[in-house]
């Protein structure tokens, strides 16, 4: 389960980068290519949108960036470490230590209250940080200094790490809903809990998959405002997958996807 020493690439300016990533499902005639030779780089604190129609590959790319999906070809570099070569456990630790998700449907753990959902992520993140520092100390991966080239390989540096679950829920305006179960929350409230949960992971990279897809336009606007405000406050990189041009327009850079290929990159 140990990740072991990984190949090290000196790329201090990128937080995460995809190089020639392809993802294909099935075999033979049934083979479907979801992503084809995609190159995307995300810099620390950057706000990036993956824009495209349904089936364009944006969610798949998001999953590749978060290590939920291992690409069929290509490499994914997370803070100068090859994420795609790590095993499940190591990728899980990487997520717990800095890559957070916000899903379209909030995906809250249905048997936990709002507070418990956030506390669970908080606790997982803290445990992962401990495990990772122990492991790094043991396998000498940090000893060559390269992993710390960007100054962050072994450290949880996000500013949200000092916040308690209560603080985070207060931050998203839900201090009165600590004991509410997901089924007792509105769509907007559930999504704000999801945001607080993501923050509990002290993210350096926040991946949002159609975060407002299930919300009405007013609520969606407020949720996006909140995410952006928090991004400004905590300085994490934000990658949002969306089919909504309006949402994409709020990003600093837009990567347009069609049929699994990057067809354009626009900086704003």
């Amino acid at each position: 389960m140990s990740s072991g020493p990984a190949s090290v690439v000196r790329a201090p300016t990128s937080l995460i980068a995809c190089k020639g990533v392809s993802v294909a499902y099935g075999r033979g005639d049934a083979r479907v290519t979801a992503l084809a030779d995609v190159d995307v780089t995300v810099h620390p604190g950057e706000r990036l949108a993956l824009w495209g129609r349904s089936g364009s590959g944006k969610t798949t790319l998001l999953h590749v960036l978060g290590g939920l999906l291992v690409p069929s070809e290509g490499r994914v570099m997370w803070k100068a470490r090859e994420l795609s070569s790590l095993d499940d456990a190591a990728r899980g630790r990487a997520r717990a230590g800095g890559i957070a998700y916000i899903f379209q449907g909030s995906n809250l753990l249905s048997h936990f209250t709002a507070f418990e959902n956030v506390a669970f992520a908080h606790e997982v993140s803290a445990e992962s940080a401990d495990a990772q520092s122990d492991e790094s100390a043991k396998d000498g991966w940090a000893k060559d200094g390269s992993a710390n080239a960007d100054g962050s390989a072994n450290a949880q540096t996000s500013r949200s790490s000092g916040y308690s679950p209560e603080d985070l829920l207060e931050l998203v305006g839900l201090s009165s809903k600590l004991d509410a179960l997901p089924g007792e929350l509105s769509g907007g409230e559930a999504q704000r809990v999801a945001i607080a949960r993501a923050l509990a992971q002290s993210p350096e990279l926040l991946l949002c998959d159609e975060p407002t897809g299930h919300l009405d336009s007013d609520t969606a606007e407020r949720v996006l405002d909140l995410i952006e405000a928090l991004q400004r406050e905590f300085s994490f990189a934000l990658v949002t997958a969306t089919h909504d041009a309006g949402v994409a327009a709020r990003a600093g850079r837009v990567v347009e996807l069609t049929d699994g290929r990057v067809v354009g990159v626009t900086s704003q």
Binding site: T59, T60, H63, G66, L68, L69, D88, A89, G92, R93, A94, R95, A96, G97, I99, A100, Y101, F103, Q104, G105, N107, L108, L109, S110, H111, F112, E116, A119, F120, A121, H122, E123, V124, S125, E127, S128, A131, S164, P165, L181, R197, Q201, D209
Partner: protein, 903 residues
């Protein structure tokens, strides 16, 4: 319809793994019932056979004369279905005398049984201990022989009413009359059997000898004289009769009811063939009537044992169906979107259930048949019709089970199709049974019936003057049945709320963020209903197993105790007086391989006041090693205490409670008995001291008897030593008995064993060997309990896959995620085991309380089959470990991307 069938088949084939699990679970459920139905059929044959065999004399037809008896017997013997018909006669004796070397010995009133020389071929109303019937001679019952001190070759004088001069006969043998209550009963065909108080002294003589001597002087009872011999034990003259034994092979092929019908038909046919010449008193029908009642009781008992298991097993089918509920929900929603009506969906579910039921039913029938054939002694004998009907029942049950599980699991999806528009106004109320507190009512009524059964007893022992007849109320079974229903409904009502409440108290006020394990408890607490669902099936299945194991063990233990009490020990060897000690029989038997210990027992008689009682002389130091003594046999002391007291008191004697009461005795009191001294032939008074109170004793009769030290008894009776040797064996009793018989055949011993005795016990219920069916049910319980745990874990991962994927996306390690499964499995397993122990024990108590009246003596305590219970718990634990380990592997392989896209 064709398209619906095609669609149903394609649904089932699309998920072959899950469909197979559903088929297997359903098949296992119905196999249990199918096996039980087959077993019940076999058992009824056993009960019928036992009832037929237990009657030593089937039909007795009174006739008016010797000639008529011979003529009618000859014609009856030619009828089909008749094994033997013999002319016979009984007559009263006013007394008898024997002049021996020690002077004149006389006995009181008695009776004569006159039979042909070949009488014993198939009619077994007595057995010879020594000698045989000889023309012109007489065979004495052993008690009469003992009283008269008469031996083979001696001459005894018989006196009868109306006899001017006493008749003297040589003694040609000594016998034990085993059916004197039937032989000497008043014969009135209109009134039927009326078993009589057996006469104290019985002499048996050849019919021809009797006809030419005693019968000439004693008046004859008219065949039609119904009042002449109406009082039991008050026979005034010669009763000529035709004694008939029907062919048992023809009667033992079906249930007791069928045997009764056949026996009645045979009797009627004989009576019609010989109109006005003979009418029978039917002893067999009475026995079969009792057996038919017992058969109903036995059927209820066996069904009672199997049905809960089968029904709970159908709960597994529900769990299995829940595994596909998400896919089914999507499919049903799709069909609904394409215009399918609720009715169409129900038809589809029905067809799917029929297909599953057909496959599972046939598979279950085959499995049940195979299990009974393999594991039940005697195998599975069933006619084609019965096999087909059992198959049809299994298919029907499996289809119904599949349908119920399908509809139960997909109820919300089915409702959604018609109720979406009403969602706003619809309120989920409590079902009627919850509002009526049916669960509490069931438990209360169950408790009440149990209390009545345990304290007062619903059963009755009727006709206490002769052979006790068992009559049991089937209503007693409502106690365990209602306990099952009540406990199940109560668990459904609780829906895990009790678990949630406990967990809420545990985690309250604790800082969860610093205690990762609390997340597991919180999750389990909120999933109380889901856990309860598993607990319901797992706990009840384990309870079924515990109940079955304890009940079967107690039943088998009691059958053995019953048989041992009747026979005396695992193996007994009976020898003529003097042979045992002169030829060192006990030591010879002890040397036979498989014999663990032996002890000699002397059986004689002594007068307590005017009452002649059986007296047993035992060696108190070796008796406990050669047979089993239970504390319940004695009053006021344990078995060990009584034996110690006997050992330390040379003239100690253990007497019945009746004797204690009648003579106002206490332990240590002097008791003077009149004991027959074989050397002088005179009864003489011998002092004994009371050493205890006994109510049951190996080989002793049900009424009053006494137990004394063998050495002391020998010193006052001079009988020549023990006449029976008890042996405890290590191996299979019939095998050891065969070896003992071979080793002692030269001494003329009669060897019996406990296994064969078990099939001859008085209650026809206990003649059924439950061992085989217990093994089948126990195997089912183990397999089903393991399957239930595995299904629960599998269902857990199926239901929570999105949650687990979310946890993985957050970065939770695999061990952390699988801990949620482990926790729930551990809760279900531990609470299920606790529930099983409590409920299983209570159910066993209830069933054994019902059986208090079947066994004699009743069980001291429940027998606990530790190895089976360990196996049951071990199977559940092993299945949990395996299933959870596989589930953990499954979590690792979850396609996170795909799952997280699902909404």
């Amino acid at each position: 319809m064709t398209s619906a069938v095609r669609l149903a088949v394609s649904w089932l084939l699309r998920a072959p793994g899950r469909s197979s699990i559903r088929v297997l679970v359903l098949a296992a459920s119905v196999a249990l019932l199918g096996g039980m139905l087959l077993f019940v059929g076999n058992s009824l044959r056993t009960v019928a056979g036992s009832a037929v065999r237990s009657v030593p004399l089937d039909l007795q037809g009174p006739v008016s004369s010797y000639d008529q008896a011979r003529a009618v017997a000859g014609e009856v013997a030619r009828q089909s279905g008749v094994l033997q018909a013999s002319p016979a006669a009984t007559a009263p004796l006013t007394g008898s005398e024997h002049r021996g070397p020690n002077g004149l010995t006389s006995s009181g009133a008695g009776a004569v049984l006159a039979v042909p020389l070949d009488y014993g071929a198939h009619i077994h109303t007595f057995r010879f201990l020594q000698g045989a019937l000889r023309p012109g001679a007489v065979v004495l019952d052993q008690q009469m022989a003992a009283t008269l001190q008469a031996h083979i070759g001696d001459r005894v004088t018989l006196n009868a009413p109306g006899l001017r001069a006493s008749q003297t006969y040589p003694v040609s043998g000594v016998a034990l009359v085993t059916a004197s209550d039937k032989l000497f009963q008043p014969l009135n065909p209109q009134l039927g059997p009326a078993p009589a108080q057996p006469p104290a002294n019985v002499a048996i003589m050849p019919l021809h000898t009797f006809a030419s001597t005693l019968a000439r002087a004693i008046p004859t009872i008219s065949a039609a004289g119904t009042a002449a011999n109406a009082q039991p034990g008050a026979q005034t003259g010669v009763q000529w009769q035709v004694q008939t034994q029907l062919d048992p092979a023809a009667l033992s092929t079906g249930s007791p009811s069928a045997a009764l019908e056949r026996a009645t038909q045979t009797r009627n046919r004989i009576e019609r063939t010989l109109p006005g010449r003979v009418q029978f008193v039917d002893n067999l029908s009475e026995s079969l009537n009792t057996a038919a009642t017992d058969a109903l009781y036995a059927e209820t008992l066996y069904i009672m044992l199997a049905v809960p298991g089968a029904l709970i097993a159908l709960g597994l089918a529900y769990l299995a169906a829940l595994g596909t509920v998400e896919r089914d929900r999507r499919d049903l929603a799709l069909l609904r979107a394409r215009g399918a009506r609720r009715r169409d969906l129900l038809v589809l579910a029905g067809i799917e259930s029929l297909i599953l039921g057909l496959v599972a039913g046939l598979l279950g029938t085959a499995a049940g048949f195979g299990a009974v054939s393999t594991l039940v002694a005697g195998g599975a004998h069933a006619s084609t019709g019965r096999v087909l009907s059992i198959g049809a029942i299994c298919v029907l049950l499996a289809s119904a089970g599949a349908g119920a599980a399908r509809v139960g699991a997909s109820l919300s999806s089915l409702r959604m199709s018609v109720a979406t528009g009403q969602r706003g106004t619809r309120r989920e109320g409590k079902p009627l049974w919850q509002r009526l507190y049916l669960d509490i009512a069931c438990l209360a009524i169950s408790g009440l019936i149990y209390w009545l059964t345990a304290s007062t007893g619903f059963s009755a022992v009727v006709n206490p003057d002769s052979n006790p007849t068992l009559s049991l109320s089937v209503y007693m079974f409502f106690a365990p049945a209602l306990l099952w229903v009540g406990a199940t409904l109560l668990l459904v009502r609780l829906r895990g709320r009790a678990l949630s409440w406990v967990i809420a108290r545990v985690v309250r006020g604790r800082a969860i963020a610093s205690r990762p394990r609390l997340f597991l408890l919180i999750s389990a607490g909120r999933r109380g209903a889901a856990i309860n669902r598993g607990l319901l099936v797992v706990g009840l299945l384990l309870a079924f197993g515990v109940n079955l194991g304890i009940f079967s063990a107690t039943y088998n233990q009691q059958v053995k105790v019953d048989a041992q009490l009747t026979l005396g020990a695992d193996v007994t060897a009976t020898a003529a007086p003097g042979v045992a000690s002169q030829r060192n029989l006990a030591r010879r038997i002890a040397a036979v391989p498989g014999v663990a210990a032996t002890t000699g027992v002397e059986h004689s008689y002594a007068y307590v006041g005017p009452d002649l009682q059986d007296t047993y002389g035992i060696d108190a130091s070796s008796f406990g090693k050669a047979t089993s003594l239970r504390d319940s046999y004695f009053i006021g002391s344990t078995a060990q205490q009584v034996l110690v007291r006997l050992r330390s008191t040379r003239d100690g004697i253990v007497v019945s409670k009746e004797t204690i009461t009648d003579f106002s005795l206490r332990n240590g009191d002097l008791l003077r008995l009149r004991v027959l001294d074989q050397r002088t032939g005179q009864f003489h008074v011998v002092p004994f001291h009371v050493a205890g109170i006994v109510q049951e004793f190996p080989s002793a009769p049900k009424d009053s008897f006494m137990v004394a030290n063998l050495s002391y008894l020998e010193s006052v009776t001079h009988t020549g030593g023990p006449n029976v040797v008890f042996a405890k064996v290590n191996g299979y009793p019939p095998d050891v008995a065969r070896r003992v018989a071979a080793a002692t055949s030269s001494l003329g011993t009669r060897v019996d064993n406990i296994t064969d005795q078990g099939a001859r016990t008085s209650s026809s219920i206990t003649t059924v060997d439950l061992t085989g069916i217990s093994h089948i049910e126990q195997a089912f319980a183990i397999v089903l309990a393991a399957a239930a745990m595995a299904l629960f874990v599998a269902l857990g991962i199926s239901e929570r896959r999105q949650e687990f994927a979310t946890m993985a996306a957050i970065g939770a390690p695999l061990s952390r995620i699988s801990a949620f499964l482990w926790t729930e499995a551990a809760i279900v397993l531990s609470v299920g085991l606790a529930l099983a122990i409590g409920l299983g024990w209570l159910l066993s108590e209830m069933l054994v309380a019902i059986l208090q009246h079947v066994f004699d003596p009743p069980p001291d305590a429940l027998a606990v089959p530790w190895s089976f219970l360990a196996g049951l718990a071990g199977a559940a634990i092993l299945a949990t470990l395996l299933a959870t380990a596989l589930a953990t592997r499954g979590i690792r392989r979850l396609r996170l991307g795909e799952i997280l896209r699902e909404q």
